[in-house]
Amino acid sequence: METEYTKQIRDKARELLENGTVECVIGYETGTDGINARPAFIYDPADVERLVFDNTCSHNLVKYLLNMKGKPTAVVVKGCDSRALNLLLAEKQLQRDNIYVIGVVCPGVVEWGWNKQSDKLQKRCVLCRQHTPLIHDILLGEPVTEEPPPDFTDVAEMEAMSSEERAAFWQEQVERCIRCYACRQACPGCYCIDCFVEQLDPEWVGIRIAPGENLMWNTIRAFHLAGRCVACNECERVCPVNIPLSLLNRKLEQEVLDLFDYRPGMSEDAIAPLITFKKDEKLGIGE
């Protein structure tokens, strides 16, 4: 199936570039380890043979559309990535007309590491509830019709700790954070021109790379993704010191699901619960 996808993506990319529908196709090519995929930007039909699709195509390519400045672009999108695309369309960061979506029904991607060959699915893929892209101009593969129910076992395990244990756990995790901001840079939901962490007036978080500031940074970033995180889990994949950021994001995902019955990125015109107000929303207050 993967080689089939590769062929279909190449054919479509060639067609779109040759007939001038798009200026660039964002897909995947094999990286320098000869094992794992990396993002590829194809401008010339002669280069489409570089494109591949296999179970190492982990990267969420939707984030790159923000750099294309309205240039007609095609992008290869998996199920989770399609939710990111919907999120950015709903938040008016992208224009649908300029984007050609090559949707791929995703069988899941494997754990990623330079020069590491793995056959173990990533955690987000084991828990995935959106194998089929929600938005596409062409769909490759057979849509998956039945998706599993939500599973928040990992969050429950974290919450089973006492608050002291949990505090110690997170303290230890964020202590090794080097504030490289790779989580933010990889996240499709993080597109602020001036991220709070870099604002000087007011200065929300100091620049010290130290436990207190690191905890503040990681916590606030998670809150900014509440009701917006599409569970592509790129933040956790890219973290160079393996901080389990999905636990924070998934805790908030669960809260939003429980309170509002809402999953971000499911349609391109969804209004996120945290940016709107309904009179009948009491959320337990005064009830």
Binding site: F41, W114, R179, C180, Y181, A182, E198, E234, P240, N242
Partner: protein, 335 residues
């Protein structure tokens, strides 16, 4: 004759070092190996390729206080930071030791950076030669070798019955005083490391490639995080900020990187390096052009950390090869 230190003698020596000095050593934390201060020999990882983060942070910490000032009775009293504790780093790889020596260029110039100079003076390096270079390693391409002893105080090489010991400096000699070494016929074997990255002539090639579209095409893929700079043993840029608590002001510096937006943005909001291509190019021009022009060596030691850690496979080995070709092409006027 080779001088050999037995494994248990090594452990008791390290235990002794710990009593009087801070001992920094590689340690397994979850699935990472990181240099941290250790309190017991059991915490030390002896069998590792290399650490996920470079040991530069023991000379150039992620965050460090430069000085504090106190305003009292109309007078400002300034207290510069003083590094008083002796530190020993055990297990530093030859590539990383070379990284520290390379940073001496900018940091020990005239005037020297006082904190870097103090860390250098107070720190002794016990190098551990690589017996098994990892797939990402290319130190031999960058003018070093897995058993390069030129930038450590003592070099240890694992042999059958312990560690072969080479004492390089007086500092190393002092640290080993009273430690009994056995004479042995064993000859430490130097493994080979990837020497195929075409670094010869790269300075000129990068210069020629400056205006090539290569950089903006490469930057398409870059997400401009700071991983490469922060894991790199030779990236030494920082940001400075003052923090005020009452009458006390603390001036600190922290790691910063040319890939971050705030790095080049100036008063009024203008950013002379705003586009992705020129921002990414800066990293490689600094390592492969500006640094060697200013200080001599290339600003890369071939540790391969950025190769492994980059989330989008921006691979300096590939870039060096590409630029040798691109630079040649541009040189022929076929841009």
């Amino acid at each position: 004759m080779t001088k050999v230190l037995g494994r248990s003698e090594l452990e008791s020596w390290l235990g002794e070092i710990m009593r009087e000095r801070t001992l920094v050593a590689p340690r397994r934390i979850d699935d990472l190996v990181l240099f941290t201060p250790v309190q017991s020999v059991d915490e030390i990882a002896f069998d590792f390729d290399n650490t996920n983060l470079s040991p530069k942070e023991f000379f150039f910490p992620r965050t460090e206080t430069l000085f504090t000032t106190v305003y009292k009775d109309g007078e400002v009293e300034l207290t510069p930071a003083v590094i008083d504790r002796e530190t020993v780093i055990f297990g530093i790889r030859p590539c990383d030791a070379r990284g520290i020596a390379i940073c001496d260029g900018p940091y020990l110039g005239d005037p020297p950076d006082s904190l870097w100079a103090q860390h250098r003076e107070k720190t002794t390096l016990i190098g551990l030669a690589c017996t098994r270079p990892a797939p990402q390693c290319f130190c031999s391409s960058m003018g070093s070798a897995p058993n390069d002893s030129s930038n450590v105080d003592i070099l240890l090489t694992e042999v059958e019955d312990g560690y072969a010991v080479e004492v390089i400096t007086e500092k190393g000699e002092n640290l080993l005083q009273g430690v009994e070494l056995k004479d042995s016929d064993v000859k430490p074997v130097a493994p080979s490391c990837d020497a195929s990255v075409p670094a010869d002539g790269i300075v000129e090639a990068v210069k020629k490639s400056f205006d090539d579209i290569y950089w903006s095409r490469l930057a398409d893929r870059c997400i401009h995080c700071n991983i490469c700079a922060y894991v790199c043993p030779t990236c030494y840029c920082f940001d400075i900020r003052d923090y005020k608590r009452g009458d006390v002001i603390e001036r600190i510096r922290t790691w910063e990187s040319c890939q971050s937006k705030g790095f080049t943005r100036i008063a009024g909001g203008y950013d002379p390096r705003a586009d992705k291509g020129s921002r990414l190019r800066q990293r490689f021009c600094h390592k492969l052009l500006y640094f060697p022009e200013q200080f001599g060596p290339l600003g890369c030691v071939g540790c391969g950390r950025c190769v492994v850690a980059c989330p989008v496979n921006i691979d300096i080995r590939e870039i060096i090869s590409d630029i040798q070709e691109t630079g040649a092409k541009v040189g022929q006027g076929s841009n």
